[in-house]
């Protein structure tokens, strides 16, 4: 599976990419939303895992752009801040439904999630 990981904290993207690669995925680390959209257009990933609260383009806006670009791409948002739920529900009101995980994510759980079909997110 081709996966792009987006987070402004290098240690988080680096470790996640290491974990995903170890499980046989092709993972790419980027540090901001703009780069994520650019790389998504080039590598056409199967999944994108992105932080929500980031400087510049936030994770929800990034996810919306990628959804437009690659409708079949799996998008998982992860966040450590309560403020991000507002962003996510705003996106939902606009018709964008994303899976959301709270930081810290258990890596086993993330891997299991990626290997299973996306579950319906409750509205």
């Amino acid at each position: 599976m081709k996966i792009i990981v987006v987070d402004d904290e290098p240690i988080i993207v680096d470790t996640l990419v290491d974990i995903l690669t170890g499980e046989g995925h092709e993972a790419l680390a980027v540090s901001n939303g703009k780069a994520a959209i650019e790389w998504a257009g080039m590598v056409r990933p199967d999944a994108v895992v992105t932080d929500v609260v980031m400087p510049g383009l936030d994770g929800v806006e990034t996810a919306k752009e990628i959804r437009k670009l690659l409708p079949s791409c799996r998008i998982i948002l992860f966040s450590g801040q309560a403020a991000s739920t507002d962003l996510v529900s705003k996106a939902r009101a606009e018709g964008y439904i994303f899976e959301v995980l709270a930081k810290p994510i258990n890596p086993d759980l993330l891997l299991k999630k990626l290997n299973s079909a996306p579950e319906e997110v409750e509205g």
Partner: protein, 515 residues
């Protein structure tokens, strides 16, 4: 102006005194008139500039000089005087020569012949408009004072009460007769008696006291938070002879302020929780991943060591943040020794990520450790508000300068303390916003904040005997905002001359050393 002799012809009894009477008429300020026995004809009038002169006898004199609605009343008084052949005396309105309506006090005496019949009336009238208006103004003022919701009282320079209105009676429970003539100290709590010397001192120097917040005590012993405005009362020569004071009960305001403070504390705690969540969950995410990797690569000792090293660093970060923030809003009720520079360091550390994310360059200009005695949690909150405001003012980068240095008070150069400067290069605050900056609920940030931050900041600083100043520029070439805070080394001691003395709650003795 000379009046011809007809005045004299009329009076049979004045005989050879024509000149003396004429002189008297001329010398008088009063207008003088002669009336026919039944007042149907005004025979002569010298208006003295007050009313129009009449050169010839006037039959419709009432229409000429009186207002229509006043005529029946005046006529009735005249009829009574004619009937009793005695003095006519009445205060009534007249049309003045300039067209305006004034008040006059008019008196006329009947001149009787040998048979006791009225030959003529001889009268004089004085303009009493000014006196009447002054009296009315005084009555109006007295009515205002009496009906005011604020307690209004006056005292002489020895502090003896000279007047006492209804609201004063309601507020303090003393009836006017119980307190007029007694010392004002009756309503001043014993420990604040020295205030009265300060107040009287200022009044004697002719100074006014504006909104002095203090405590007074009612007859039943109840303590009342009040705001006093006291003005010197002067005699006509300008000498201060006493003081008039307006007392406003601000007990309710104080309660509301306390509630607002609590609200802001909760809101600040909420904002802090959001920041802490972000700052803690990120390192936790990293640690979780590193632990996973260490387990996965357990055979590779070099790799595991690297992961654990990184995890340790992230753990330090979590621990540091927890230590800083969990102590952050602890309600310290006793002042302690507090390092201003370390407090600033902790705050900067907490907001480091936010600064980085926005591309804000931080310039720290302080070296030596500066300690003050204060309520640590409150001072942290005050400084934190200034720093987060500065960060919020620079959404797309800029420079944040934080300075701390030993200094002296702007108000009193004998008071030593620390001056903290927080300066940003944001867009600045417009003059119209600057005026309302410290008002509760004033905010330009509609999405975050309660509009209480700076209000509470100033509250905290003033409670510690400090001062806060702001300067802001909004020009394109040079813009930004600077806040300066002065905090004395040791809370505040007696500051009788600053209006905020009673702001310090009785249970916090800030000047007390607790080392």
């Amino acid at each position: 102006m000379t009046i011809k002799t007809p005045w004299i012809e009329a009076d049979a009894r004045t005989g050879g005194n024509e000149e003396r009477l004429q002189a008297f008429v001329n010398a008088s300020f009063d207008l003088v008139y002669r009336m026919s026995p039944d007042w149907s004809e005004l025979r002569q009038i010298d208006g003295k500039g007050l009313v129009a002169n009449a050169g010839r006898p006037l039959r419709n004199w009432m229409d000429e000089y009186l207002l229509p609605e006043d005529q029946p009343k005046v006529r009735a008084a005249i009829d009574r005087a004619i009937q009793s052949k005695s003095l006519f005396e009445m205060e009534h309105r007249i049309r003045r020569v300039d067209g305006s309506v004034g008040w006059t006090l008019s008196r006329a005496v009947p001149i009787l012949d040998a048979n006791g019949e009225i030959v003529e009336w001889f009268g004089a009238a004085t303009d009493v408009t000014a006196r009447k208006e002054a009296r009315e103004a005084q009555r109006r003022l007295a009515a205002i004072v009496e009906s005011s919701d604020d307690a209004i009282a006056s005292k002489d320079l020895n502090g003896i009460v000279t007047s006492w209105n209804k609201s004063a009676e309601r507020l303090f429970g003393y009836k006017p007769e119980e307190i007029i003539g007694k010392p004002i100290l009756l309503i001043i709590p014993p420990e604040l008696h020295k205030d009265e010397d300060m107040i009287l001192g200022k009044i004697r120097r002719g100074e006014k006291i504006d909104h002095f917040e203090t405590v007074r005590v009612a007859k039943n012993g109840e303590r009342i938070d009040v705001s006093l405005t006291i003005s010197p009362v002067r005699d006509e020569r300008g000498n201060v002879v006493g003081a008039a004071k307006i007392v406003r009960n601000i007990t309710e305001n104080k309660k509301i302020e306390q509630a607002l403070r609590t609200t802001e504390k909760l809101a600040a705690a909420g904002r802090l929780a959001a920041t802490v969540a972000h700052e803690i969950n990120n390192p936790l995410e990293a640690i979780t991943n590193l632990v996973y990797l260490a387990k996965r690569d357990v055979a590779n000792a070099a790799k595991v060591e690297k992961y654990l090293q990184l995890a340790g660093r992230e753990l330090d970060r979590v621990a540091h943040i927890a230590r800083q923030t969990l102590g952050f809003y602890r309600d310290t009720s006793a002042p302690t020794t507090l390092s201003i520079t370390r407090t600033l360091d902790d705050l900067v550390f907490l907001y480091e990520k936010r600064l980085e994310a926005r591309g804000i360059q931080l310039v720290k200009q302080y070296g030596e450790d500066i300690e003050i005695i204060a309520l640590a949690g409150e001072i942290r909150q005050a400084l934190s508000n200034l720093i987060t405001n500065a960060i919020d003012a620079m959404p797309s980068g800029g420079k944040l300068v934080i300075r701390a240095a030993k200094s002296r008070s702007w108000r009193d150069s004998k008071r030593q303390g620390v001056r903290v400067t927080v300066l940003d290069t944001g867009s600045g605050i417009s003059a119209q916003h600057l005026r309302r900056l410290y008002q509760p609920f004033f905010t330009t940030k509609t999405d975050v904040g309660t509009g209480l931050g700076l209000w509470i900041t100033r509250n905290i600083i003033e409670k510690h005997g400090g001062t806060i100043r702001v300067k802001s520029r909004t020009r394109a070439a040079s813009h930004g905002t600077a806040f300066w805070v002065f905090l004395p080394f040791e809370g505040k001691d007696s500051v009788a001359d600053s209006g905020t003395q009673s702001d310090v709650p009785a249970n916090t003795s800030i000047s007390q050393r607790s080392r």
